[in-house]
């Protein structure tokens, strides 16, 4: 407290200015002054906050109630009930359409129990199945899945129009979910409560896969590409 501590390792003003200048060589910081330095630091800092930290804080992360192995269930050699030549046809074995053309989404327990009917005799030997048998099948309790793709209340989406009439594969929007062995964490926007998957993971809109960004413009882009401009009318998706 009594002694003033000198920090011998502290570089002189010119020293750290020039080292910062090495990072951004296109601006000569010493000629502009220290105000510009603080501006640049603040600018880069706010970019990091806006593009990295805020998106991380914005989305919550919740585990699914239990794991589900899509890759295993989609393998016709391992699972009897799965039929179909294409991946989409195999997806439709469980994620079905009703007779009126509506889509069931995540199947109910009833669908699982078409195969996993006896709690005493599991079909495989995984611990997940044992948990599923004892906790859900034995008690006939629905699994409280967290839906990755549930649309907001004001959005209308018809699966049958895309899959059956438009001949789109499931993976165009859902990615390689069908090949996953472990369910990813469910991440919901803390403000809106919507899942991150409905808009796609990429907030900048840059996409290498169709499912990276799935905002309104991406829907319209695909409709136009396929020659269905009539489906870009507002009321087709907004309700």
């Amino acid at each position: 407290m009594e002694k003033q501590v000198n920090s011998p390792g502290k570089p002189s003003k010119e020293g750290w200015l020039s080292s910062l200048n090495a990072l951004i060589p296109w601006i000569d910081l010493s000629s502009i002054g220290s105000g510009a330095v603080f501006f640049v630091i603040g600018f880069i800092g706010s970019l990091i906050v806006g593009w990295v930290i805020f998106p991380m804080v914005l989305y919550s992360s919740q585990p699914q109630p239990m794991n589900f192995n899509h890759a295993l269930h989609l393998d016709p050699e391992k699972v009897d009930g799965i039929e179909g030549d294409t991946e989409t046809e195999r997806c439709l074995s469980c994620h079905q359409f009703r007779d009126d053309g509506t889509f069931v989404g995540i199947p109910k327990l009833e669908k699982c129990m078409e195969c996993h009917d006896d709690p005493e005799s599991p079909l495989g030997d995984t611990p997940e199945e044992k948990e599923f048998m004892t906790q859900y099948v034995a008690n006939e309790k629905e699994i409280p899945w967290l839906s990755y793709s549930r649309q907001p209340d004001c959005v209308y989406f018809s699966h049958i129009a895309h899959v059956q009439m438009g001949e789109q594969e499931c993976r165009v929007c859902h990615g390689d979910h069908g090949k996953s062995e472990i369910l990813p964490e469910y991440r919901a926007n803390r403000i809106t409560g919507y899942s991150i998957n409905i808009w796609g993971e990429n907030i900048s809109g840059w996409k290498s896969n169709t499912w990276d960004s799935m905002k309104m413009d991406d829907c319209a882009e695909c409709h136009t590409e396929k020659g269905h401009e009539e489906n870009n009318a507002c009321f087709v998706c907004h309700k």
């Binding site: 359409f97 009703r98 007779d99 009126d100 053309g101 509506t102 209340d153 004001c154 209308y156 018809s158 049958i160 129009a161 059956q164 009439m165 020659g227 269905h228 401009e229 009539e230 009318a233 507002c234 009321f235 087709v236 907004h238 309700k239």
Partner: protein, 269 residues
């Protein structure tokens, strides 16, 4: 016109309301409100703030008894079309600053996107038919009291501060399309897509269908000599037609200069 709006088949969904059949029972209003999740308020007697996508007007010929005659005018959104003089928008669409309402050239239906509406109410002022309503309060659908159970899942409830109007039950069109797709069809039949008011009308005064399709009953009725539209002089080209054989009813549907009105009946004038 076809080229201008790209490929795809063009429909023109419209409605014909036979005023001679209408008894003014109000079933269309009730069916509409229930179908489209129109909320009720604690004081529904305040009609200036009430929301009625389908409104029923009562008109009389203004004569003393025993010549008094009464007629009822059910009024949905008219879903106005291009005016044919180069204007591409109905009056509400051309004033919308947020592109929250648009005329779909493929179906002829004027959409209203509630999440896009900023509540400036220009469209309300622009609509000559008073078909647009402003939400002064949030919709009231409390959970556990039963009100939430009759909600139509395909229609989103509105929040306060936005304008809403009749959508020609567009969700029923989507539902009919889904059904057709499930059966492997691309086209829907005439009776597969009708509005809630059309379905509910006990005297079948309302007919709904595609005005572009000469086989649909609605397009035949719209060409009847008894057919007319509201405020036709404004050139808004509504897709809702009315039928009436009574001259006084037809005369009240528009503003006529002296000697401008032409009777369809030879005997009366």
């Amino acid at each position: 016109m076809e080229k201008e709006h790209g490929r795809g088949k063009h429909y023109k969904y419209g409605m014909v309301i036979d005023l001679d059949k209408c008894t003014g029972c109000g079933t269309c209003m009730t069916a509409c409100a229930a179908e489209n999740n129109v909320s009720v308020r604690s004081d529904e007697s305040d009609k200036e703030r009430s929301i009625t996508w389908m409104q029923l007007y009562k008109i009389t010929n203004g004569k003393e008894f025993p010549e008094t005659e009464v007629s009822y005018f059910p009024r949905p959104c008219m879903h106005c079309d291009e005016d044919g003089r180069g204007g591409h928008h109905p009056s509400c669409v051309s004033v919308c600053v947020a592109t929250a309402t648009k005329l779909d050239h493929y179906t002829g239906i004027v959409s209203q996107v509630y999440t896009r509406c900023i509540g400036c109410r220009y469209c309300q002022a622009a609509c000559p038919y008073h078909a647009r309503y402003f939400n002064w309060w949030d919709g009231y659908f409390p959970k556990g009291k039963g009100l939430d159970r009759y909600l139509t899942p395909e229609v989103s409830p509105r929040m306060r501060g936005v304008v809403e109007k009749c959508s020609f039950c567009h969700h029923r069109l989507m539902r009919a399309k889904n059904q057709a797709y499930a059966e492997g069809r691309r086209e829907i039949e005439e009776d597969e897509y009708i509005t809630a008011c059309t379905e509910a009308c006990p005297v079948q005064a309302i007919t709904f269908g595609d005005l572009n399709n000469p086989e649909h009953k609605v397009s035949q009725l719209s060409k009847s000599r008894n057919a007319f539209r509201l405020l036709e002089h404004l050139n808004t080209k509504p897709k809702v037609f009315y039928l009436s054989t009574k001259d006084w009813v037809r005369k009240l549907a528009d503003n006529y200069l002296p000697d401008q009105f032409k009777s369809i009946n030879k005997t009366t004038g």
